[in-house]
Symmetry: C2
Subunit: 340 residues, 2 copies
DNA sequence: TTGTAAGCGTTATCAC
DNA sequence: GTGATAACGCTTACAA
């Protein structure tokens, strides 16, 4: 049976001092004499004292925990962000509570409530795509809990956020294809309603326009973010636009499906059709030819999100939202690099 | 400014009853009259009452949080396990605190101490490869906190665990290559000191022996788990064993490196050399030819780990460790399937 | 430099 | 059925 844990009172009794002094000694309070501090430290080891953070939290109102909301922890994109967040927060003695929303509003709302009940010191969230309202996110702020978005954000809420510049990423990807000689460039578009994909579409069109290439809306295909969808859509593209010479996919997953279908159809990539995806999923470097893509600096995104949170709780000046927009980088590989 | 939160005392005052009654009503205590219960529920909504789990935890000793220790959250293997764990625990109203060890003992020890300070109700861990001792894991049990291992375990500790049958996975993978006609099969071995890799080596040898094929130790190559290592070792293999016709890699990452090098050398896969990896990493399905591999049921592993934990805390009978060994499944693809 | 005392928001054990 | 009270383990004015 687990015998009663040692508390600061046990240490106090042992040393014939009070619990208050023990508490101060353990917390490095400068008012405490070196002798006492040492005695307390020794006794703590001897009695195997383990601080009870819950008790301290109840008193101070700080738990040193932060909630992180992601759609799914097994998606490489979010795993990488979680990694970045945990690294930075652990160094600052914060722990990370991970909750998954599965892109659904109900799970998201439940998770937010759970986190608030646990009295987390902050919530970092990638908003679920299935969320249409956000009264529960308002509650977070009403509760005085710092809130911060990354990746997919509610732009109408005045909270800090970390995102990548989807417009710029798409622009650069398209520009690259143009530089490789492509003129009839298909865009595989994502969720019509998503700001993120709207921005990618905007970037695609801007790059074409800036290069003096006519924007042809029939070259824009709505396509889910998975290989099977990419495979299915390839036939349509080839049938409707036999003159296509480049494809910019807003998803690596769709891109790899297209790549496979093109190869099955005997079409040379990148010779006849050059391809570039988006996200720099780990698998992109392993396909043949390796898939060009746009890196979103997910690890950095997590780190910055954590840093913004730390700044926010440390600042005593009134809070003003910071929006950090990361510059995506092109990762150019065989699928889009034609010989010079 | 965050005004003072409503507590059960506020509700009590409002209804001219005591906090004890409010607490009982909120917790569904049957002794409370339906009228009171309803009044409390109404007042809770009206006053926007939000329970303070920290206060309850201090009193009850239960936090409804569980610590999960993994080497790195961005490795697909662990992301998938975390997903499984979180899904099961969230349904049981537990939250998951994720900490990363980066395969190092120091970080692991720090993480364990942090989790104990946070009074987690349990710890689920994949032991860091860099850990040589485990006095801090002993402390977890001394503290009366349920401990459970998955993936990489301390076999000398009497705690429950969930692992896959590495021996069986390796046996089946090797057997499959033999069935495809391979006779000179190289094994790419992992960490020499790791039980897990020792088991895979054992499975490889057993399958050969059972098929009446001579076990040749020079066919066993120690190789790190990354594509570059696989690429480097390919030249050695081809030089030293030009008659090799199959490769069983204990790592998908090494396997894909080998695959690339073989193709660069103009060797037909699977015709001349068939390849099978281990882990069913997401990228294996996208390489060309798609890489055969051994699936470890990571999502299930996470779910089972969580279920074992829940059983352990619910059981009132004395604790006996359960060891769950999952059967790995072959995932056969182009890299090892020769035409019939 | 240290002690005293109050309190964080709950829940549990008595009573009545 | 409900109330009164203590307690969980810690921190922090305020005193001394």
């Amino acid at each position: 049976m687990a015998k009663a844990r040692t508390t600061i009172h046990d240490i106090a009794k042992e040393l014939h001092i009070t619990a208050a002094t023990v508490s101060r000694a353990l917390n490095g309070n400068q008012a405490i004499s070196a002798r006492t501090r040492q005695a307390v430290a020794d006794a703590a080891v001897r009695l195997q004292y383990k601080p009870n953070q819950i008790a301290a939290s109840l008193r101070t109102g700080k738990t040193f925990t932060v909630g992180v909301l992601v759609p799914a922890a097994d998606r490489s994109f979010f795993g990488s962000i979680i990694r970045g967040i945990e690294e930075v927060l652990a160094a600052a003695h914060y722990s990370v509570i991970v909750a998954q929303t599965h892109e659904g509003q109900q799970a998201e709302e439940r998770a937010v409530e759970t986190l608030l009940r646990l009295q987390v010191d902050g919530i970092l969230a990638s908003v679920a795509k299935g969320s249409a309202e956000f009264h529960y996110f308002e509650k977070v702020r009403q509760a005085g809990v710092p809130l911060l978005f990354f990746d997919n954000v509610w732009r109408s809420m005045p909270v800090s956020s970390v995102v990548i510049d989807d417009y710029l990423g798409a622009y650069r990807a398209t520009e690259h294809l143009i530089e490789q000689g492509c003129r009839r460039i298909v865009h595989l578009w994502g969720h019509r309603t998503s700001y993120l994909y709207q921005e990618r579409l905007r970037g695609y069109k801007a790059a074409l326009a800036d290069a003096g290439i006519r924007v042809d809306d029939t070259l824009v295909y709505e396509c889910k973010s998975d290989p099977a969808a990419g495979q299915r859509i390839t036939a349509d593209i080839l049938a409707q636009h036999p003159d296509v010479d480049g494809i910019f996919s807003s998803s690596d997953f769709a891109a790899v499906g297209v790549l496979q279908s093109l190869q099955a159809a005997g079409i040379d990539v990148p010779g006849q059709i050059a391809i570039i995806g988006f996200a720099n999923e780990p698998f992109t470097q392993f396909v043949t030819p390796a898939l060009s893509t746009v890196d979103q600096h997910t690890h950095t995104m997590g780190q910055i999100a954590a840093e913004l949170f730390l700044e926010e709780i440390q600042a005593n000046k009134p809070f003003t939202p910071h929006v950090r927009i990361l510059e995506p980088d092109l990762v150019l590989r065989g699928s889009s690099l034609r010989k010079a």
